[in-house]
Amino acid sequence: MVSFLIRSSGSIRCRLRKLHKIKDSNGYEYEPIWINTKDAEARGIKHRDIVMAFSEKGKILAGAYVTERIKPGVVRMFYGGNWDPEDPRSRESLDRGGSGNVLTTNSPQSSHAYLHRIQHMMIDVCKWEGQN
């Protein structure tokens, strides 16, 4: 199954960044990713589980926020967190911090606006059972 990532900008939740982080048992703070109840059930994901989101380009870890407020087939992350890869020299390295830029394409929005692509991206989400 394929999900889409919408990177929305300008959310009130960004200002409460530290409050909405999802902690794992070791105390590491993950960026939350919104996922519909049906999608979460199909993937065996529970609320506040640590999940891996991956696209063709990269993979990140995030905390699942299971909600009815998002459309099935879509996941959402507000901006993303600070880049915190396992190996900073490798492009394929798993990003623990949950930076959205790892998933999205490197090409700019247009030749006039050198911004990252903040709209949508084909990604999928699975439960992360690796070493936290």
Binding site: I12, L16, L19, E29, T37, E68, R69, I70
Partner: protein, 277 residues
């Protein structure tokens, strides 16, 4: 003089100003002898918990600001093994003495509202102090002061109790029988919603009179659709059978009978009314 509070959920615009104000007031700021600083994560002395009802695409979110209820018979005070560690001030505010607390978590487990938090770093339990240091200066609590849409009504208990009667505020989880002195207006209750539209033009019908009657007990609740054609009737009872009558000027009255309210928030979707000939 004792303090009490009403929280009007229906006015909340989910801006989190109360939560931010609480962090601003307490993170890094000790207020001896009442409180040690609040850690910046994992503790929300006031927390706007967004309670979701219904399923996609018809979802209703109730933003419930949850803070210490200052219960009349507080289970945290009974649970605490240390004498005079959790005590009540003369103005009714329950406080945890940060010097005496040894972090046994008895109060954390005893609180049914889960608003007492354990602090790993200092090995103490902490909770909302109703900004007692501000009350002593004659100010309102930080959350009440910060709220832009006047969700909180804060004041003396006798004044608040009058207001409670007038506006029909309720205690949260009154079945616990803890006599909390924080009252809520618009708590989540079984409710029925719908969207009334014109069959021909598919335009919203504002001010349509909606009558919801319980078939067994013949209780009647009436409401009106808003400017976008949406209506919402709350305080219904779950697993009851209702019939819904919608009438508007220039339209044929439509009745939906034998509707079982099987979930806490049921949305009927678009209800089309046909025009009168």
């Amino acid at each position: 003089m004792k303090y009490a509070m009403i929280v009007d959920i229906s006015r909340c615009c989910i801006c989190y100003a109360c939560q931010v104000a609480c962090k601003d007031e307490f993170v890094g700021n000790p207020y001896p002898p009442y409180s040690f600083p609040q850690p910046d994560v994992e503790q929300e002395w006031i927390k706007v918990s967004e309670i979701e009802k219904g399923t996609y695409p018809h979802v209703k979110v109730y933003p419930v600001p949850l803070l210490c209820m200052q219960c009349g018979n507080a289970p945290c005070m009974d649970a605490c093994p240390i004498p005079e560690c959790i005590y009540r001030k003369g103005n009714g505010v329950i406080l945890i003495d940060p010097e005496k607390c040894d972090g046994c978590k008895a109060c954390v487990n005893a609180c049914p509202y889960n608003i007492i938090f354990y602090n790993d770093d200092r090995n103490i339990c902490q909770k909302c102090t109703l900004c007692i240091h501000r009350l002593e200066e004659g100010k309102e609590p930080a959350c009440v002061d910060a709220c832009p849409s006047s969700v909180f009504i804060f004041g003396e208990e006798s004044m608040i109790l009058e207001e409670v009667k007038k506006r029909g505020a309720k205690q949260m989880n009154s079945e616990y029988k803890l006599e909390p002195r924080t009252y809520y207006i618009g708590l989540p209750s079984p409710s029925l919603a719908g969207h009334v539209i014109d069959e021909q033009s598919l335009m919203d019908i504002p001010d349509a009179a909606v009558t919801i009657s319980d078939i067994k007990t013949s209780d009647v609740i009436s409401c009106k659709s808003d400017i976008a054609g949406n209506f919402l009737a709350d305080s219904l009872s779950i697993n009851a059978v209702y019939s819904i009558k919608m009438e508007s000027k220039g339209f044929v009255t439509r009745t939906i009978g034998d509707l079982l309210l099987d979930m806490e928030y049921k949305h009927l979707g678009d209800i089309k009314l046909s025009r009168e000939a």
